[in-house]
């Protein structure tokens, strides 16, 4: 049995290219998500069309540009240029001040600032528009205050729970852990077992004195270790490079991860009993496992906003439940009481996959 496990390790480590990918992938992904991928908007390029050029508009422009959200691309001379700038993709927003701006402010209608947004990127447009609105409104409030006209103001105190600095990496680390555990456990096992089938070496193993259960355990054991190593690497990166805390119990986190790894392995074995060739196993894991894991698990995109059908499908994704668990432990610091349901679902899924593959396996042997 031990010799068999050693053989598996040997197989895996000899393929150094796959090794590099397996260990490089989590690191690169976490680094990318941590450093490069962010939804925050800063330094958005804007154009300014100032028909008035008076003290007030200069003040407002100064306020906009010093906010950190915006960066000046250019001053426009006419309305006709707006379209051109957008089409070239040079700016995301153009701010237009009407003629006689300062004078019109005193009139009962007030002066108007037109904020034109390139809404082909709706989220960005939305955020930029609210930032611009907030800056200009604050400015006019202050103006009124100086003129003693401002009577009332509501102070809004904003608190971001669980992620006070609103770092994207908090959101992505649980997802990256899930995807990688899935990739290593399910995909690698399914491919490696199918390869033995394809090469005919599986038959040799089956006629050996090893019992089938020993064969399967020997096959999956190295991947359990690999997955665990990956998990630890990601957690260390998250903790020490991104200073992301683990609020809850580390033991509980590792335990739940082990459960998820078991589930993925069972799934991988199931896939390998279904597919005849490596290529089939690969495509099945790719399209039936990886894509849904990434899309429907809430890893990147919130599930609540999807059409109902997809929300229902997402309940079938084991990764969805695991991500909830990881977020709970790592970010909210809750205990098992808060996610016993999710844990139970994972256990049931694991048993189901094991049951199905044992059944498939027996049918094939008979």
């Amino acid at each position: 049995m031990w010799a068999f496990v050693k053989k598996e390790f040997f197989h895996i480590f000899r393929d150094y290219r796959s090794m590099v990918i397996l260990f490089g992938m989590p690191i690169v992904m976490v680094l990318l998500f941590g450093f490069a991928i962010t939804n925050d908007i800063n330094n958005a390029k804007i154009g300014i069309l100032d028909h008035s050029k008076d003290v007030v508009t200069r003040d407002i422009i100064q306020k906009l540009l010093s906010s950190g959200y915006f960066e000046l691309d250019s001053y426009l001379k006419s309305n006709a240029e707006i379209e051109k700038l957008f089409k070239q993709g040079r700016v995301k927003e153009v701010v237009v001040f009407e003629r006689d701006f300062a004078r019109k402010m005193a009139e009962s209608n007030g002066a108007s600032v037109q904020v034109i947004l390139d809404a082909s990127e709706p989220n960005t447009a939305n955020m930029l528009s609210s930032y611009t609105g907030a800056i200009i409104n604050t400015y006019s409030m202050e103006l009124m205050k100086q003129q003693m006209k401002i009577p009332v103001s509501i102070q809004v105190e904003n608190r971001m729970m669980y992620n006070p600095e609103v770092k994207s990496v908090y959101m992505f680390v649980p997802g990256v852990i899930t995807v990688l555990l899935m990739l290593v456990s399910a995909m690698m096992t399914s491919i490696s077992i199918t390869r033995e089938k394809e090469l005919g070496t599986m038959e040799a193993l089956l006629v050996s004195p090893l019992r089938p259960i020993q064969i399967i355990l020997g096959k999956v054991f190295p991947y359990v270790l690999l997955s665990f190593t990956n998990l630890i690497v990601i957690l260390l990166l998250a903790r020490f490079v991104f200073l992301m805390p683990i609020q809850g119990s580390l033991v509980l986190l590792l335990g739940e991860s082990l459960l998820f790894i078991m589930m993925s392995l069972a799934l991988g074995i199931l896939i390998s009993t279904i597919s005849k060739t490596q290529q089939q196993a690969m495509l099945l894991s790719m399209f039936a496992l990886m894509l849904p894991t990434i899309l429907l698990s809430g890893f990147i995109f919130p599930v609540e906003n999807m059409p109902l059908v997809l929300q229902l499908v997402s309940h079938l994704m084991p990764s969805k439940w695991f991500i909830i668990i990881v977020k709970n432990i790592m970010l909210k610091g809750t205990g098992i009481l808060y996610f016993w349901k999710e844990t139970l679902i994972l256990i049931v899924m694991t048993l189901l996959f094991i049951g199905l593959s044992v059944k498939k396996f027996k049918i094939r042997l008979e």
Partner: protein, 370 residues
Amino acid sequence: MRKLLYILQKEFTQVFRDKAMLPIIFIIPIVQLLVLSYTATFEIKQVRLVVVDHDRTPESRDLVAKFSGSSFYKITNQVVEYAAAAELLKKGKADQFIIIEPKFASHLVTDRKANVQLITDAINGSAASLMSAYATAIIGEYNREIVVAITPLAGQSLPIRVEPSYWYNPELNYITYMVPGILVLLVTIIGLFLGSMNLVKEKEIGTIEQINVTPIKKYQFIAGKLIPFWVIANIDLAIGLLLAYFVFKIPVIGSVWLLFGVASIYLVAILSIGLVISTLTNTMQQAMFISWFFLVVFILMSGLFTPIESMPHWAQIIDYANPVAYFIKINRMIMLKGSGWPDIQNEVVILAGYAALLFTFSIWRYRKTV
């Protein structure tokens, strides 16, 4: 040239004979486009809001009404204390809660200043930013209304009106934004995976050796491997554009021919990357892992989901080498804004440079001898 035709004939025959290939090539992209367009969204439709109203006066209720009147918010619970709201957030049953201080209304009148606390589940940072921006805007609007109500002498709200207008996508439809990007994703997956798997497959089954003892030229063989998938990916793009038009009602505002022209150049670059990968690997498993790796990095950094401008400077510099980023940008410009050749020429020239470079490299990397 005649030899190339024989290779093409063989490649096409193989692709169309493989029963597993046809769905991969033609069905999966369609499903991807449909599913991704609905799933790949950061749009927030309904925030589950919990209200902790310590004041319970007409004023505080007015403020709450502002939230329930917004299509963006759904008030799921009204609770009496902070702890209960925090528990709901912890359990994941709410996204945000608002706390209105005791004596909110009287503070407004006497101190002319009142406090509202806004607490947002910020695990999903981008959603949190949007949620807090929306809530702040709603409270701001309420503020302006009471200004008018309390001080009629002013006769106006604020001296400056901000009037946003949203061009190209006035309804801020997120799908409109995503579809052009997903089309790029789709042809990229097809190009990169088929490109990298095909040559490696010949290595694995051993036919490559038979090819290598023939006097065939390296460029003929590589071109023979590239062209079929180039054609297929272009057909996929055409199908995708039709779907975008008929299902999502997103027409190509700019020139379709320009779009296909750029796509053709782009695909040479992507397929060449796939071929380079397949010359560097020995098994399909390796080829697949490496393709996957590049795909993930390319896509994450492409601006498909998150704006490139927000990335740190070094990441933006790396992105100059990311063909996916160029094509996503160009495709969005042509499809959504109707940009023309002068608007995109710089990007296209760079893409063409990459395509030529990568194609040459793949020919150079392909070894007939070991």
